[in-house]
Each structure stands twice: as structure tokens, then as C-alpha cells.
């Protein structure tokens, strides 16, 4: 029994209960270990010289004074670092998209406020910052591209000269006969919705420590959601071998060469047909626009394959990421390259100003939606024109391209549209880079749920009636979205809507409105519903990015040490999601032991199973958890088989309760895991696994395409708007969610509430503000406001638990709160003010402008 009272018993005892978080004690008493907590002897500290201009040519850079400052070890400029690093390459390219090649530091041109142009390494961060001020950079300013309109203007200064403009992608897909449906419908309504830039704001900023041990062994410690991705990128980009060296190394590394050739053979054997059918235009566009790409890819590939002694990456505790730490930072590559060159430990802990400039921004989209509908409220056609502002540099590896694909696939939502057209454009501007942010595609839900309310208002029907009338329900399943993914009973959006209507006490709404009016306030209510692929059906990711589903697979290992200790090994990288608790719940139930009997192994790339994506995409529960259940089941079978042998019983008669492995009904003659392990050792049956020898070791992979289903919710928000001050209160907020059977209800509640808090931030507080010339306006927490405990109301969470037809019922909840909240809140504000709301960000000034109380300046 654990100190938290987490006691083991039979199968299924923990799953579904609010077991206390295993992580909490360590973190709350200050025993967490973050990257900033580790400072090896003699560690050096890095700081970056960053551009104060949105867009400029660098005509000179003088580092002499900085290098002379006592305590400074080196200063490396953008031009100099090109000798140490390879340029960063495109990943998951789209047909027609141009992805610029760029280095970790900029040399000839800067493209946003904060663009790093030199790295300073000194004996302390303070000295490094002093030296930064001594680096003399001469800039020749260029026009800053700060708006979508400026970026779409073909006469605007191209940020990436090879692109010949700032529109990098423009693609239209029709699903169904859009023109016919629009021509036939009674009404067509059109509105444009704008969402300004936001920023993922984890409590812990980014950070990396490249540590050299006394014997020269290198370990990279970082705040990363994806340690394997960081390891491979550092291997590819933070070192530079000549093409000849790289090819020679590959040719002479026979083991790796053979493995590569075998892997390639089996890859083509398995996918030959699909590859032949697949469209290679993505690479063709890229090569045509920037022929260097091919050479760089071959050279970097050969370098990667030539060696297998790359430094390992590890991470212990991480103070949040919300997607931003799934990116590999240019700064991380620069720090690693300089540390490798110096042969000394170097640490970079980002400060909050850097984080607000360059730590990752998101969501800046403008979407024009037209809905064709009939007079009776039947919604028929949807036409969307999306423009996404990816900022100056592409997200690496996840950014705008994959986001526009997910946005398109999910855009129709759970509505029975007859036809759908989406035009997607990606522009580049002089702003911080666009990265994945908790529900990266969320603005498809925001814009659609806003537009559905607009249609309801114009037709004079309620926001709940229009949803009920047009949403898929059980009677429709199986069904297929126009964009490809199939829908089954797990797409229970309408059920959550109906439950939300019951809980919302709509008949009492008039009384609430009157009460608010008596206090000089205007009350409004907003509904929003969505389904999200967490993980989604097998055809979901194939609809988003054909041929890449394998990237989403999750490996796991379950092992028993020779002394009986049980370990679960995951490729997930926890950074606040409670994996140590929920995976222990799943495994403990499989193995008939207590929570404390399970040790979760993660993080260090020498030990954690390989997976490029790490944690993200609400995959920890369904896919990572699915893998844990799969290997847990495998381990149980192996344990039971050995025990049956030892106890001379049939495997079907073996029971495991509280770690006692016994013949059912005869617990007194049971064995412990240690007994079993000792016997395996005695019998010479141990197996080799990662990092050691084990009594049992079960490795397996869970394919996210195999199982799953949808995670869904309806959000309801009540607002009271103070029409004198423009301040918005949220007296009540309700989430009705269905993520299937829940592993840990308290953790699911926390995910929902945290997501809603960020949605409240998006609408009322947070804006990564730039002026029209792309000068950053919010570089501290004085200007970038995050909702705190006093701004976030109590959030009611109601659970529905629809079983899926698949084998793994658990579905993801990491992102949903953030997906539903902006739409529910803005719909409520629209209801309160009785005007059309076209923006997502509604600070007090904008509220009073919309209400007609004040004029814009």
C-alpha cells in the first residue's frame, strides 16, 4: 500500500478511479529536476544576440569587444556557425508548399524581432548578457511584413527570396459538388473570422544543457516533448561533416549500412504499391524552388546514417510545453554545435522575453466561411477560405503545413454537410514561428461553431436547435466525413449537446438575463461542440497526410528485473500529463500489483523506446496507453505461463492479486514477482532487453491507426458583460465530454479545466501582439496576459463514457478544453451583445467598440 492509499487488488481496480498523482509529492516539495536544476562543474552559459528589427539585412557584425570581456569564452556569428552546422530541412512537406532552408543562426538577413544572429558563451549568463550588448551588428532595415494583407500583396518584400513572394502555399480541395449545393440552397451566409497570434506559455521556458562528463561522454539534457526527435536533429544539424566524410562513414559502418538497406527493402516491400500511387509533387515543388534541398537532404542523411554514437538526449521533469517543446529550437542546435566544438558543458535557459519572441506562437488565422442552408435550418454546404500566418521561420518539425491539413479534415465537424470546399493558404510574415499549440487545428472548430451560430441567428432559430438538427447521431452511423474519416458511435457529439442542454437549465435563462440587467450587466450564453481525433479512426491520419500513419505508432516495453521489479517503458515524454500515474494504473491492473510496484521509464533516449513525436496530439491516453496495455497484457501472459509451470497448474487457473501469483482459490501457496524472477534466473531463461538483462521483457508497438475513435465535447459558457467597462465575467462554465471509459477522472477534469483556462486566455487576455510593421508589442508578462486563478471560474465537467467498438476504449483529452472554449465564449459574448462577433480576441476595448459604446481610435 502506498502512502497515498493507492492499494492494489484485482484486475481493473485502479483504472477508472481518481488515484492520486504519483508525480505530485516530488514536484510539490521541490524535488523535481528540471533542466535548469542541473549545472555541472565548469558549465558555461549561453545567450543570444537577437535582432531588434522585424526585417533587415545584416551588413556588418563586430564581436571583438564582446570577445574581450572577461569571462567570455566564445562568440559565434551566424556566418561562422555555418561551418559547424547543417541547414534545417523540410519535414512532412505538402504539394505546392515551399519550405525555406535556414541555419540555426541568421547571417545575411533577419526576419523577425528576436531572430538570433550570434551566440555568446561565457562563464555566467549575466556575463553572456553583458557581452551580447557589446556585439555590434549593423542592420539595414527592410519593410516589415506584419499583416496577412501585406503578406498576400504580391508587391511586398519577399522574406524568403527564393519563394518570390510571401504566399508559400495555396491549395483548394472540393469534397462533393460544392457549386451545385450552393446554387440549390435557400440561403448562403458568409462571415470572416479572425484570430490573432497567441503564444504557448509553459511555466518553464525552453532550455538545453550539453554536458560533458570527465571522460568526454556527452549527454544532452533538454526541456523537450520529443527526446528522440531532438537527438536525431542534433545529430543531423548540430554537426557538419563534408559530403565525402559522411558517405565514407556510411559506407564503412557496415552494421548500420546493412540495417538501413534491410529497413529500406522492407519499407518498399510493404509500401511499394502505396508509394507508386502516392503523389511526389510535394518534393517536386520544393526541389524546383530550392534545388539545394536535394543535396542537403542526401548529405545530412548520409551523415546521420554514417554513425551511431550520437549523444543521447534526456529529460526529467518538464514544466509544460503545450506543443512548443515538440519543436526543436534553433537555439538548441546552436548551443549543441558550439558545445561540441568547445568540448565543454554549455547551458542555455531561455528567459521569458526570449520565450515570448521566439518560444513559439500559434493560431493566427483568418477564415472566411460561407454556409449554404435551407430555410428550415438544414445546413447543406460549407465553403472555407483559410489564410494562416506561419511567421518568419517554419515550425520544426511540426508547424503550419500539417495544421492546415488537420484543419481541413476536421472543418466540417459533426454536421451532415452535402459538400465542402476548402482553400488553404500559408503566408510568411516577420513574426515568431507558428508551432503546434494544444489543439493546433482548433480554429476550425472556432470558426465553424461561430458560423453555425451566425446562421441560427439569421434564420431565427436557437443555437441548440440548429446543432441538434444538423449533427450526426447514432442513427447515421457508420458514416463518413466528406473529408475522409469514418464516424462511429464514438462521435457522440450530439449526445453531449443534449446532455449539456439538460444541465444548462435553459428555461431559467430569462431570469438570469433579467437579474444581470438589474445589475447593469448583459448576460449571454454560448454553445460549442466538436469531435477530435484522439486518436481517431484508422482512416483519420490517412486523410490528413497519406502514407505517414506509421509515424504515429507508439512502442512500449514491459519488463520484470531479475529481482522482480516491474518496469513499463514508454516513448511518451511526460510534461504535466500524469503519465506516471495513469500508466501505472493501467499496468497495475494488468499485472495484479499496486501503483507503487510499477516504475515508469521514459525520457532518456538510451532507454526510452524510439518514437519521433514523443508526447503530443492527445495521444498519451489512447495510443501510449494502448501500448502500455498491450505490453502489460503480454507480460501478464508470460508471467502466468511461468507461474503455471512452477505451480503445475493450468494457465487459466492462475490469478494475481496484490502481487500474489497463485492458483485461484489457493492464495496461501502463491508466488511473488521476485520469486518468479529468481526462478527464471535459476532456469537460465533470462532475456536481454534495452539497458540490461530481465526475467521477462515484452516489447510491442501500438498502431494508432488500428483502433480508437473520437473524443468529443460540448461546451457551454455563460458570460456577463459590464457594458460600462467592457469587462467580461464568466459566472458559469460547463463541459460535457465523452472520451470513453476514463482512466483517472481527476486527471481528465484537470485536462478539461486547463484547456478551458487557456481558451479563456485566448479570448479575453492573451495576444502575441505585433504592429502592422511586425514590431513585437508584447515581450513581457506586463503585456502578454495569462489568466490566473482569479480569472478562471469554477468549471463543471460532466463525463459520458461511450464504449468504442475497438479494443482500446480510452480516448484523449489533452487538447479538447482548448478546442471548445474559444467558440463557446465568443458565442456567449455575441449573445450578450446582440452583434456579430468576428474576432476571437475580445479585450475590454473591443467589447465596448462592438457594443457601440466607444468608437475605435
Amino acid at each position: 500500500m502506498s502512502p497515498d492509499g493507492n492499494q492494489g487488488s484485482g484486475l481493473g481496480a485502479f483504472t477508472g478511479t481518481s488515484v492520486k498523482r504519483v508525480e505530485d509529492h516530488r514536484l510539490l516539495v521541490g524535488e523535481g529536476r528540471y533542466v535548469a536544476d542541473v549545472v555541472p562543474d565548469g558549465c558555461l552559459h549561453a545567450a543570444f544576440v537577437r535582432s531588434p528589427f522585424p526585417h533587415a539585412r545584416i551588413t556588418g557584425i563586430d564581436t571583438a569587444d564582446a570577445k574581450r570581456l572577461p569571462g567570455v569564452v566564445t562568440v559565434v556569428t551566424g556566418a561562422e556557425i555555418e561551418a559547424l552546422t547543417n541547414p534545417i530541412l523540410p519535414f512532412l512537406a505538402l504539394p505546392g508548399l515551399y519550405t525555406p532552408l535556414y541555419h540555426c543562426l541568421s547571417s545575411e538577413r533577419v526576419r523577425f524581432v528576436g531572430d538570433p544572429v550570434a551566440i555568446v558563451v561565457a562563464s555566467s549568463r549575466a556575463i553572456a548578457e553583458d557581452a551580447v550588448e557589446l556585439v555590434d551588428v549593423t542592420y539595414e532595415p527592410l519593410p516589415g511584413i506584419g499583416t496577412l494583407d501585406a503578406a498576400l500583396d504580391t508587391a511586398s518584400e519577399p522574406i524568403w527570396p527564393k519563394a518570390k513572394g510571401n504566399l508559400l502555399y495555396d491549395h483548394t480541395n472540393d469534397h462533393g459538388d460544392v457549386d451545385a449545393v450552393f446554387a440549390d440552397a435557400d440561403h448562403v451566409f458568409t462571415e470572416t473570422f479572425r484570430c490573432p497570434r497567441q503564444s504557448n506559455q509553459p511555466m518553464e521556458t525552453r532550455g538545453i544543457l550539453v554536458e560533458f562528463s570527465a571522460d568526454g561522454e556527452i549527454t544532452v539534457r533538454a526541456a523537450t516533448q520529443a527526446p528522440h526527435m531532438l537527438r536525431w536533429q542534433l545529430a543531423a544539424y548540430a554537426r557538419k561533416e563534408s559530403a565525402a566524410q559522411a558517405v565514407k562513414a556510411f559506407a564503412t559502418n557496415t552494421e548500420r549500412r546493412t540495417a538501413f538497406v534491410d529497413a529500406a527493402k522492407s519499407f518498399f516491400a510493404e509500401r511499394g504499391e502505396a508509394l507508386q500511387a502516392s503523389d511526389n509533387t510535394a518534393m517536386q515543388t520544393q526541389m524546383k524552388t530550392d534545388p539545394r534541398t536535394a543535396l542537403q537532404m542526401m548529405r545530412t542523411g548520409a551523415q546521420l546514417l554514417g554513425r551511431d554514437d550520437y549523444p543521447h538526449v534526456t529529460a526529467d521533469d518538464i514544466g509544460g510545453g503545450f506543443g512548443a517543446k515538440g519543436s526543436v529550437a534553433r537555439e538548441e542546435i546552436a548551443v549543441a554545435a558550439v558545445a561540441f566544438a568547445l568540448g565543454r558543458s554549455v547551458s542555455w535557459i531561455e528567459d521569458r522575453m526570449e520565450n515570448l519572441m521566439d518560444g513559439g506562437q500559434a493560431r493566427e488565422e483568418e477564415m472566411t466561411l460561407s454556409i449554404a442552408c435551407d430555410a428550415d435550418g438544414t445546413i447543406r454546404g460549407l465553403d472555407v477560405d483559410l489564410v494562416l500566418d506561419q511567421g518568419a521561420y517554419p515550425g520544426n518539425p511540426i508547424g503550419a503545413p500539417i495544421t492546415v491539413r488537420i484543419m481541413e479534415v476536421m472543418q466540417p465537424g459533426a454536421y451532415r454537410f452535402e459538400a465542402f470546399r476548402q482553400r488553404s493558404r500559408i503566408v510568411t510574415t516577420n513574426k515568431g514561428k507558428y508551432v503546434a499549440y494544444r489543439g493546433p487545428w482548433a480554429n476550425e472548430t472556432w470558426a465553424r461553431e461561430r458560423m453555425v451560430n451566425v446562421v441560427a441567428r439569421r434564420l431565427g432559430i436557437s443555437q441548440t436547435e440548429i446543432r441538434r438538427k444538423n449533427m450526426y447521431g447514432d442513427e447515421d452511423f457508420p458514416a463518413t466525413m466528406l473529408t475522409g474519416p469514418s464516424l462511429d458511435v464514438t462521435c457522440s457529439v450530439r449526445k453531449t449537446l443534449e446532455r449539456a442542454e439538460e444541465l444548462a437549465d435553459l428555461p431559467g435563462l430569462d431570469a438570469l438575463r433579467a437579474d444581470a440587467a438589474a445589475r447593469g450587466k448583459r448576460l449571454g450564453i454560448g454553445f460549442a461542440s466538436y469531435h477530435e481525433a484522439a486518436p481517431g479512426p484508422p482512416d483519420y491520419w490517412e486523410s490528413v497526410n497519406p502514407g505517414t500513419s506509421a509515424l504515429l505508432d507508439q512502442p512500449a516495453t514491459a519488463s520484470v528485473d531479475t529481482d522482480g521489479k516491474i518496469k513499463i517503458w514508454t516513448s511518451q515524454m511526460p510534461h504535466g500529463q500524469s503519465h506516471e500515474t495513469t500508466y501505472a494504473q493501467l499496468a497495475a491492473d494488468q499485472l495484479g500489483v499496486g501503483i507503487d510496484d510499477i516504475e515508469l521509464v521514459y525520457g532518456h533516449t538510451s532507454r526510452a523506446p524510439f518514437d519521433l513525436l514523443g508526447t503530443g496530439g492527445s495521444r498519451g491516453g489512447p495510443v501510449g496507453g494502448g501500448a502500455v496495455r498491450k505490453v502489460g497484457r503480454g507480460l501478464r501472459a508470460a508471467v502466468v505461463a511461468k507461474a503455471a509451470d512452477m505451480l503445475e497448474a493450468n494457465v487459466d487457473d492462475i490469478s494475481i492479486v496484490d502481487g500474489n501469483i497463485h492458483v485461484a482459490g489457493v492464495p496461501a501457496r502463491g508466488l511473488g514477482y521476485a520469486d518468479l524472477a529468481a526462478r527464471v534466473v535459476a532456469d537460465g531463461e533470462t532475456v536481454e532487453g534495452k539497458d540490461g538483462t530481465y526475467a521477462f521483457n515484452v516489447e510491442d508497438t501500438y498502431t494508432s491507426a488500428g483502433d480508437g475513435g473520437w473524443s468529443v465535447a460540448t461546451h457551454v459558457c455563460w458570460v456577463e458583460v459590464d457594458i460600462e467597462t467592457g469587462l467580461v465575467d464568466i459566472p458559469r462554465y460547463l463541459v460535457v465530454e465523452d472520451c470513453g471509459p476514463i482512466i483517472n477522472p481527476a486527471i481528465v477534469d484537470g485536462q478539461a479545466r486547463g484547456g478551458v483556462a487557456q481558451g479563456i486566455g485566448a479570448v479575453l487576455y492573451e495576444r502575441a501582439a505585433y504592429d502592422d510593421d511586425a514590431n513585437l508589442q508584447a515581450s513581457t508578462y506586463m503585456d502578454y496576459l495569462i489568466p490566473t486563478a482569479t480569472e478562471v471560474p469554477r468549471i463543471e465537467v460532466e463525463h459520458m463514457e461511450t464504449l468504442s467498438p475497438g479494443e482500446n476504449d480510452h480516448r484523449g483529452v489533452g487538447e479538447g478544453g482548448m478546442i471548445g472554449a474559444p467558440a463557446a465564449i465568443t458565442n456567449a459574448i455575441e449573445d450578450a451583445l446582440d452583434v456579430t462577433v468576428n474576432e476571437q480576441y475580445l479585450p475590454p476595448t473591443r467589447i465596448l467598440e462592438l457594443a457601440g459604446v466607444i468608437e475605435p481610435d
Binding site: 555566467s124 548578457e129 467592457g726 469587462l727 508589442q777 466607444i854
Partner: protein, 290 residues
């Protein structure tokens, strides 16, 4: 976000502190550090010498005169002001301002006088000083001088203090008979600097306003009174007609800035709303004059 190099001194007598200030062109006084240290960490300021006054005796006193005047020393924290029963009873407008200042942790270290010397345009205390005709007690090796609040705040983060002067105390004179005061503000989140704020003191004779002070913060380069609107209230009961005129004059007089948090029009509108709220609140107060 590390401060640039600076020298640091922690004198234990007022005289030695004043000598340090007199002998260094580029010295800054450090008390609670809640404004100065962030400025340095952001490298927006780089004083060569910090004179830490935290070990100088007597500066942490709140002194109440027989007539109800209150003198607050340079080391008195916002939290101490907030908790002082003497200030609550004799200078309630000062007490009313304290809970609006930052968060508890900031009030535990930040000082009342430090906030006045820093003169942030959106800070509460400078406006309270203007509304109460407070006197700033500056001291240096050259001697002491008392500076009326009306002459003290000269620009954005600028005051009448000379480089060698330490703002040793602020003195709030005895409240006039019939005075009532309040501080109202609107911030985007609790504890943020105000989008607009008002320290309002009205002196009533029965139902009639005989003197009015409307001291705004967050709507210009420094805290400022709006004399035309004050004049419009004097001689009235603060009724709707008088308020309408005062609000009109507030809007006509103020020229607030726009920033990421609010437009100029919004702040101008808000200044009027605050005037209406403050006067209405003070009119409805009964019993003890404040």
C-alpha cells in the same frame, strides 16, 4: 534577463546614504526593489550604484500627528500601509489604495514611498498624493525640502527629486472635516496596472460638495488632476446633471495613450465611468466623514 553590473552599498545611517548619493552621479536608491530590479533585469536601466536603505533605522515608521496628519517613512511597505489601523482611520483614501497595488507578494516588499518616487503613470499612490495635497519630504546632504505633490510629478517616470536626494517620507495632511475619499480602477486582471484609475476625494458640507479632487492615473504620462471637472462638482450635490458635466469635462481634458491593453477612446470613456462610480459611491456614504 540578468541585471548589468552595478555596485552595491548598504549604509546603516541616513547620513552615509546621503553621502553616497551625493558622491555618485549614477546612484539609485533601493528599498523594496519591486520596480527598480525588474527595470534593471530587463536592461532598461543600468545604475552604477545601488544604495540599499533597508538597514537605516527610523525609515520604517508610520507617524500620526494629533490632528490626523500621517507621515509614512521610506521603508514602510504597501502591506504595512494596508494593515495600519491609524491610516485606515485618519487617511482612509490611502488605505483604500493599498489593496489595488500589485499582488500580496509585491505589497509585502514594495514600499509606498518607493512607488511615489518611481512615479509610474499607472500607479495608485502618486494619484492619492495629488488628491490629498500630500507633501514629499526629500532629504540630501544639502538639507531637507518639502515638495507639494502638485509640483512633484513632472513626467513619465520623472519627478522633481534631484539625483542626490532621497525621498525620506510622504506626509498626508489632516483630512478636512467632511472629506470622503475612494480609489476606483479598472484593470484587466486583478493586480495588473490599471487601464484607468481615479483617486477621488470630495469634501461635503451636508449634501453639498465644497471641495473636489479627481486625481487620475493610467491615463497620461503621470498622475494628474482634472481641475475643470472638479470645479463642475463643487457647489453641487454630485447629482446626475453635475456628474454628466464632470464626465464631459474629464473626457475633454484627458488625452490618454493607447497601448496593447486599451485604446485612447476606451481609457477616456473609462475615466468618465470611474468619475461617475466614485462620486456616486461617496455621495451614498453616510455617517462618519472620511
Amino acid at each position: 534577463m540578468k541585471a548589468p553590473p552595478f555596485a552595491y552599498a548598504r549604509p546603516t545611517t541616513l547620513d552615509s546614504a546621503l553621502e553616497l548619493l551625493a558622491g555618485n552621479d549614477d546612484a539609485k536608491v533601493l528599498a523594496g526593489g519591486q520596480s527598480l530590479l525588474p527595470v534593471m533585469n530587463l536592461r532598461l536601466g543600468a545604475p552604477a550604484l545601488l544604495v540599499d536603505i533597508s538597514r537605516i533605522p527610523m525609515l520604517d515608521r508610520i507617524v500620526v500627528d494629533d490632528d490626523g496628519a500621517v507621515t509614512i517613512g521610506a521603508l514602510v511597505t504597501h502591506a504595512a500601509v494596508e494593515a495600519s489601523p491609524e491610516i485606515a482611520s485618519h487617511q482612509p483614501i490611502v488605505a483604500a489604495a493599498a489593496p489595488h497595488i500589485g499582488h500580496r507578494a509585491i505589497r509585502n516588499r514594495g514600499t509606498c514611498v518607493g512607488s511615489i518616487a518611481h512615479a509610474d503613470p499607472a500607479a495608485e499612490m502618486p494619484a492619492v498624493c495629488l488628491a490629498t495635497d500630500a507633501m514629499m519630504i526629500a532629504t540630501s546632504t544639502r538639507g531637507d525640502r518639502a515638495i507639494p505633490a502638485a509640483d512633484f510629478f513632472t513626467g513619465f517616470l520623472e519627478t522633481d527629486l534631484a539625483d542626490d536626494e532621497l525621498l525620506a517620507a510622504v506626509r498626508f495632511p489632516a483630512s478636512p472635516v467632511g472629506a470622503r475619499g475612494t480609489v476606483v480602477e479598472v484593470a484587466r486582471r486583478h493586480g495588473d496596472y490599471a487601464l484607468a484609475g481615479l483617486a477621488c476625494r470630495l469634501v461635503f458640507d451636508g449634501d453639498t460638495i465644497t471641495d473636489a479632487a479627481l486625481a487620475y492615473f493610467g491615463v497620461g504620462p503621470h498622475a494628474q488632476r482634472v481641475a475643470p471637472a472638479e470645479a463642475a462638482l463643487v457647489g453641487t450635490s454630485g447629482d446626475d446633471d453635475a456628474l454628466d458635466e464632470a464626465v464631459r469635462l474629464v473626457a475633454a481634458t484627458l488625452d490618454p495613450p493607447a497601448d496593447v491593453h486599451g485604446s485612447a477612446n476606451y481609457r477616456r470613456h473609462l475615466a468618465g465611468v470611474l468619475c461617475r462610480r466614485a462620486v456616486t459611491e461617496l455621495r451614498s456614504e453616510t455617517g462618519e466623514a472620511r
